[in-house]
Symmetry: C2
Subunit: 295 residues, 2 copies
Amino acid sequence: MSSKHQPIRHVAIVGGTHGNEITGVYLIKKYQNFVELLQGYDFSIELLTANSEAVAANKRYIDCDLNRSFKIEDLSNNSLLGYENQRAKEINQQLGPKGNSRVDFIVDLHTSTAPMGVNLVLLNDDPFHLKLADYVQQRMDNVTITWEQLPDHHFLMSIAPRHILIEVGATPQGSLRHKIFEQTEQATTHVLNFIEAYNKQELPVSSSSLEVYKYFDVMYLPQDSQGNIIGMVHDNIQDRDFGLLKTQDAIFKLFDGSDIVYEGEECYIAFINEAAYYDEKKAFSMAKRVVLSIG
Amino acid sequence: MSSKHQPIRHVAIVGGTHGNEITGVYLIKKYQNFVELLQGYDFSIELLTANSEAVAANKRYIDCDLNRSFKIEDLSNNSLLGYENQRAKEINQQLGPKGNSRVDFIVDLHTSTAPMGVNLVLLNDDPFHLKLADYVQQRMDNVTITWEQLPDHHFLMSIAPRHILIEVGATPQGSLRHKIFEQTEQATTHVLNFIEAYNKQELPVSSSSLEVYKYFDVMYLPQDSQGNIIGMVHDNIQDRDFGLLKTQDAIFKLFDGSDIVYEGEECYIAFINEAAYYDEKKAFSMAKRVVLSIG
């Protein structure tokens, strides 16, 4: 663990950062309607529907992706226009400010149209976050951990120094799937229980190491010179999230009938054919699997 | 077959009637780019992207559902506002007018977020349409046939006297799935081949009867007195489209943890937890299975 024990006093659970990922939106509503579910912890919990306009429109975002809008330089840039840039500043005021935040911990609830299982997204590889991810993974099936370190991250949860993003799939956008909802709620409960045990310095013994997927690149959908999509993710890799992609594996079926094969080095792939990423024409994310010691 | 043989001379293939069902949109693009795919038939084929504004916005519709906008009374009602009501009139001019249409046959391409397989939607139970559905069903796996008869139907394809709607799933909205795309293309090819054989009076012998699902009611998501959704489609029925629903089967899991059971008569259910139907808070469609003789 980090040398100094810093108890967590204020937690925010956030849903609807993407407006059409309604599992988190309805889990927030459930917590609002059944307040006893969040009682008994030794820290305060507040609930936030982050992008309420996008929720109302059943869209990922109105003007730009809210979960790409929390870089420190963007939060202080008043020339940025559009609903989400404004909303990011409001949320930063409400929970932050980033770098010196009122809340100590943020849980941000997301879903994927890809069968990601329960995917925990970390921005830091310090012992606190590795133990947190390990704690959840030891208590649920089908948990994977990804790690996206950047000097100044753009995610909403980066407002707080400690945080976790819970991304569960597969579910269509704008739809509530019973099992996906349950997994999201269970993962959130495990996170809250971890924080309680951490605060009391009663954490169970963790694993000695943690397997994490570290993204290093993105593959784009096949396009012509004008940027028109000319093919699809190949059935050969569809629904094989966190599987191994080998050199020469077919990755795209073009509309002309031909296959495109992968020519890079062996890697793991995720967010395969994620519907939310068609705006950027992304086909899948590429990761290395690394094993980190839990200090 | 109908007593008089009436060859089909003009066919329209329509995609993007719902803007976020992009499988049809891209199949239309594929046909535009590979014109040889539609050559050699003894009838003309034209291609139409029906709701191009909704396609651009990656939404089902802009103002209202285009595929509910083709009743004769609505097509002649100039007080109806909004993009889709205007667009319906344009399409009716282009392909119709309904009741005396220029095109003889319309294929309308749709997808579902539910695992509907290849679902053929009929509006008529005359020998032509039953033989058409039987022809496709004999040539592909996982084909189901539904029948939605109304005196003046609201579907786009009702412009033409003969028509078929091909609805394939499961696929997320705004996403191209290789297998779903292939099934859509294959079903379309079978429809065109049927028309060619019909025109030449060379249809193969059909089955003697056809099993069709006839919708009779809709079940809505559980709601409180203000219309707020208070639960989800139960995992017990999720992904069991065209399966049998029995009295006392659990159909909803409420957020308070309790189950709601079905209290009606045994029936078949489809469009289970369809994301597109959350705007109307529909949970699933209920059907009777009937066997129709192919005359």
